[in-house]
């Protein structure tokens, strides 16, 4: 069949189009495009069905595993698709590795090296036990993350845009340094012993729970990552869709209870809002996909996405619904926005 490719402005992207087998898959098409254009390897390509101009619906993105035939709307011999270049891509593994490497290296630098000399403090300083435990806790956390990246996680999309490397590294490395500066400061004031133990103890339990959540998520998919989306079940997933984010958030809370710095709590608030956004999106996606029709199971109605209160605040501040909107305040049955029951 003949495939015509246009750019989003309507210009023909490959002159004359491409000729493929009737039984070809989208992946085959991507290979053919790559062969012709050299520059655009498959993970850089975004192929969508054209939407009628003026229509505000989101374009359908082609799935690389499906047959091209599945997207032909009646006319089996030709197909017109819209091409978008997603820019240089890196694998998620690469992205995560560099993000997490920063905190793993920068934090110990503040602990071990006489960094504070450059801020005008004397070299001699007393190191409190909590500062040492915080170092171990922090480094274990990021070491765990790196291990999970290489040995546990099964990613649904193989790649991420290169620009995300700079953005994400800036986030992790800046916050890592910001927190490390205060926890390892020569004038650091430790909290009481009991508070420290409660904080780290709770944090460790949550990190273990978080690891178990990752194992559960991994088992939902096959090794080549082709499992797509499944309904997670068991453990905390029976209560929240993104139990992995929930345990991660509480794990940071444990760290902050033990170390008590404004920097750490600021990081907690920012990280919580980011993860809550992701959790809301994933929760909505799963609810939409698992609608109970065509043999698909129905997504359990009683689940929240991660933490109900923060969802409301995040959703309204993200502009999803202005604060004056009645939908936000009237109690809705079984929805992620009902703040009444779950704070």
């Amino acid at each position: 069949m003949k495939v015509t490719l246009v750019s989003r402005s309507g210009r023909e992207f490959i002159k004359g189009g491409l000729e493929l087998n009737d039984s070809a898959t989208v992946a085959d098409l991507q290979e053919a495009i790559h062969k012709r254009t050299k520059k655009f390897y498959p993970s850089r390509q975004r192929l969508t069905l054209p939407v009628p101009s003026g229509s505000r619906e989101r374009p359908v993105v082609l799935n690389y595993k499906k047959n091209l035939k599945d997207y032909c709307d009646g006319n089996e011999n030709s197909l017109t698709l819209v091409f978008k270049d997603l820019g240089p891509q890196v694998s998620y593994r690469t992205l995560f590795f560099f993000e997490y490497l920063g905190p793993l290296i920068l934090y110990p630098a503040f602990y071990y090296f006489p960094v504070y000399k450059f801020f005008g403090y004397e070299e001699k300083r007393v190191i409190h036990p909590v500062q040492t435990y915080a170092l171990y806790y922090w480094c274990f956390h990021y070491f765990k993350r790196i291990m999970e990246t290489f040995f546990v996680h099964r990613f649904s999309h193989a790649t991420s845009p290169l620009s995300n490397v700079f953005r994400n590294c800036a986030y992790y490395w800046s916050f890592g340094s910001y927190i490390a500066y205060y926890v390892n400061h020569p004038l650091y004031t430790p909290v009481g012993d009991l508070q420290m133990k409660i904080g780290f103890g709770f944090g460790v339990v949550c990190q273990l729970a978080n690891f178990y959540c990752h194992i559960i998520l991994k088992n939902l998919r096959s090794p080549d990552g082709s499992g797509g989306y499944q309904i997670p079940r068991g453990f905390l997933f029976n209560i929240v869709t993104c139990a992995n984010y929930t345990t991660e958030i509480y794990q940071w809370l444990g760290f902050n209870i033990a170390t008590q710095t404004v920097a750490g709590y600021v990081f907690l608030v920012v990280a919580t809002s980011i993860m809550t956004n992701w959790a809301l999106a994933k929760h909505r996606r799963l609810k939409k996909l698992f609608d109970g029709k065509d043999g698909r199971p129905k997504y359990p109605r009683s689940r929240r996405s991660a933490i109900a209160c923060s969802e409301t605040l995040v959703a309204s501040s993200a502009g999803a619904q202005p604060l004056l909107s009645p939908r936000l305040w009237l109690p809705r049955r079984r929805s992620a926005y009902s703040i009444v029951l779950y704070c």
Binding site: Y182, Y188, T189, T261, V262, A263, L323
Partner: protein, 221 residues
Amino acid sequence: MASAFTVLRRLYLSVYNWIVFIGWFQVLFLALKTLKESGHEQLYNAVEKPLLLAQSAAVLEILHGLIGLVRSPVSSTLPQIGSRLYLTWGILWSFPEIRTHVLVTSLVISWAITEIIRYSFFGMKEAFGFAPSWHLWLRYSTFLVLYPTGISSEVGLIYFTLPYIKASEKYCIRMPNKWNFSFDYLYAAILALGIYVPGSPHMYRYMLGQRKRALSKSKKE
């Protein structure tokens, strides 16, 4: 479609815009009067009260955007109002030593002209439903000159205040403390200066885009 809510909204916004307009008009009037009679060193003292009031009232605009009363995205009003409030309270009000600087004059006049045009423009639209085309043109053209003069004045004033910030230790929080937190107002000021580097071209380009949209839209009508 004149529901009670729409009428109330228009009434409130008309009152708001016209009152703040009067505030800025006062600022400009007193500024020019003082320049003629006494000189630029006295300008701040003459305009202080209406300036503090009119500029602080702008905080309400963030609220308006948040609750959906106006369409402006919070993302563009926040940096604009943030820098204004920082200059007004964080620099001019906090450090009297800088008030006699000549840049205060260029700052106040740039701000006042911009705001007089802007608030009367919105006041017209809310109260009467329209604004004459010359008014639209002024609203979307004067920034071409006033943004550079205003921004240069802001940057200059922050820069010249730095020695006073360093000497006074004002707004600084030092360690040790229970929350293991520190804040150095000097470094915050230097950071603010840094933000102007990408921030100013961004705001200018945003206004250029707004100008294109607004002036071409009026041509079509």
